[in-house]
């Protein structure tokens, strides 16, 4: 008898949890699905035209490309940091972890202003680099803004990935003749690769979606979000929505393929 009562209680909890889950999933699906549905059902022609518009395609290509560059930099510089954070205890580790998380918390308009003041022609980094690279209204400007906001999205999952690899596996590999480097790329890296892919996907997606931090330093060349914003201001929902839907579908496609690779 007791067992059934208990089972019943669990059942009720799961039903409530199920309802809550349904609500939150619906919330996301409705917001993202509505414009897609409206666009594809009521204005398919406008959508097809947008798909052929070279300005739109250029912007989306630029967005995807710059975000990949930012992710590439995050990968090269962030992977070593993620490893150190996963493996070592040292004074100030908490501080570094908090610093890495800051871009999640800082309002992105503020981040944009900060990035601008460091990277514009007379900025702390912009000035000494000015003979070699231009950040203001240029691709490098877009990349640094995207890099800033996406760094925590790369580092955190990768650190978790490295933490999940037992350090003894590295030790055994060393005893079998592997150098530190080989133990890392033959053992630790491949075991953590799912987390690394997750980090790449998250950081890349975060870069694509960035708007506020990008426009202050690099309104031009326009990334997709800037174009959508501009078209919204000029022509309202009807002019901006097709671009938004196209970007959304492309992102969805890439994310789904990422997920299937991770499995």
């Amino acid at each position: 008898m007791k067992k059934t009562t208990r089972g019943g209680k669990h059942g009720k909890m799961l039903v409530l949890f199920g309802i809550a889950s349904f609500l939150i999933v619906s919330f996301v699906v409705i917001i993202l699905g509505e414009p897609v549905f409206t666009q594809l059902v009521f204005d398919l022609e406008g959508f097809i035209e947008t798909c052929k518009d070279p300005e739109v395609l250029n912007c989306i290509g630029l967005t995807i490309g710059t975000s990949f560059m930012a992710t590439g930099i995050a990968f090269l510089v962030g992977t070593p940091l993620a490893y150190i954070l996963a493996r070592k205890k040292f004074f100030g580790k908490r501080v570094i972890e908090s610093i890495i998380d800051l871009p999640i918390m800082v309002p992105h308009m503020i981040a944009g202003i900060a990035i601008f003041s460091v990277f514009y022609r007379y900025g702390l980094i912009g000035k000494p680099l000015s003979p070699i690279v231009k950040f203001f209204d240029a691709i490098p400007g877009i990349v640094v803004a995207m890099l800033f906001v996406s760094v925590p999205f790369f580092i955190n999952p990768v650190r978790e990935g490295f933490q999940s690899v037992d350090p003894r596996l590295e030790k055994v590999a060393r005893s079998l003749g592997a150098t530190e480097w080989k133990a890392f790329y033959k053992i630790t890296f491949p075991i953590a690769y799912k987390h690394i892919l997750a980090g790449i996907g998250m950081s890349w997606g975060r870069g694509i979606s960035e708007f506020a931090a990008v426009i202050i330093l690099a309104y031009y060349p326009m990334v997709a979000s800037t174009l959508i914003y501009e078209r919204f201001l000029i022509g309202g929902l009807e002019y901006s929505r097709p671009v938004a839907v196209l970007l959304m579908l492309i992102c969805l496609g890439i994310f789904i393929s990422f997920r299937s690779v991770r499995k």
Binding site: D166, R168, L169, K171, A173, S175, L176, G177, A178
Partner: protein, 347 residues
């Protein structure tokens, strides 16, 4: 073969203090000690995973104190075997050979030979997560042995296994070391394992190597009370020794024990519980201690019985279940405790 000189290390909550040790070629050496004694740390230092604060490690005539693990040619086997989860069994075994730039044919041949030797050929393409504990251990041994290590280091290799597999693999480890002439250093907290496997045993307690000797010396001639108690000797007493006609008589107050020792004055002595015979009727013989007493506690340690007998002093004795039944013993039974003078070890 392996010489450790004056080794010191402080690491996290563990420490090693002034470890001096020599291990011979082909020897099966067991480091025995309680949890937290620093056993794994000692093993990891031989492997080069930590560098010592002080002291030297020599292997095969070379000073390898500061050499990285990959230059030491040492096999390491952890308690959980640490198989690479992203590689199948064969890839795990081949791992070390592939790093050594051996030709493909040679890799194939060596891998096949070692897998046959350990009887794991049929597991070639299995993922480590699908293997039993015993199988995982064999794969770990194969992976370590395939590169011809100078010494195999084993960190509690049997403790994660069920007792039946433990018994079987203990025998196999011993045979393997004998057949292959491989030098082994095996760390354990398990006395039975140490006794069964070790050519010699080193007792490590609180980061110090307290005694090194054959199993016979460690288990029957422990150097001090602490070691005696750790190796399972419950009968430890203090008394006053005097020598008469070449035999020591040690007065414990309530009774007098005969022992073979040259020591006089205040001494500590111990008697292993299995050296004690329980008799229903006492008959005195020379150089034999015999005391009358009463069984105060009986506990079953299948297949043995452990008895506590009060004969002025409390004695712990271990007898087989069969003799327990034949003697018709129970708590309160009157018995005689008997042991040879030569079974008494004066510390």
């Amino acid at each position: 073969m392996i010489r450790i000189k004056g080794l010191y290390k402080d690491w996290k909550e563990f420490s090693l203090k002034n470890i001096d040790l020599e291990i011979k070629e082909g020897e099966y050496f067991v480091i025995l000690g309680p949890t937290g004694a620093g056993k794994t740390l000692a093993l990891e230092m031989i492997a080069g995973f930590h560098s010592p604060d002080k002291g030297e490690i020599w292997i095969g005539g070379q000073n390898l104190t500061d050499a990285p693990p990959e230059d030491r040619n040492i096999g390491f086997i952890y308690q959980d075997y640490s198989l690479f989860p992203h590689l199948d069994v064969k890839e795990n075994v081949e791992f070390g050979l592939k790093l050594k730039k051996v030709s493909k044919d040679k890799i194939e041949e060596k891998t096949r030979d070692i897998m046959e030797l350990l009887g794991i050929s049929h597991l070639s393409h299995r993922q480590p997560s699908t293997l039993s504990g015993g199988e995982q251990q064999k794969v770990a041994i194969a992976r370590a042995m395939v590169v011809n290590p100078r010494v195999l280091l084993l960190d509690e290799p049997l403790s994660a296994l069920d007792s039946k597999t433990q018994d079987r693999l203990r025998d196999e480890l011993k045979q393997l070391s004998e057949k292959q002439g491989l030098t082994m250093i095996h760390v354990t907290h398990d006395r039975v394992e140490a006794m069964a496997l070790g050519d010699r045993i080193g007792v490590l307690m609180d980061g110090k190597l307290r005694q090194v000797g054959t199993p016979q010396q460690i288990f029957h001639r422990p150097l001090n009370e602490e070691i005696a108690s750790f190796v399972g000797i419950d009968n430890i007493y203090e008394g006053e020794s005097r020598i008469e006609n070449g035999i020591a008589r040690i007065n414990l107050g309530e009774l007098e024990i005969e022992a073979i020792t040259g020591k006089e004055g205040k001494v500590k002595l111990c008697v292993r519980p299995e050296e004690i015979t329980i008799l229903r009727k006492g008959s005195r013989s020379s150089a034999r201690n015999l005391f009358e007493g009463r069984v105060v506690r009986v506990s079953e340690r299948y297949p043995l019985m452990k008895l506590t007998i009060d004969a002025g002093k409390e004695f712990q004795a271990v007898i087989t279940k069969k003799s327990f039944l034949e003697l018709n013993l129970k708590e309160g039974s009157r018995v005689y405790v008997s042991f040879k003078a030569s079974s008494v070890h004066v510390l």
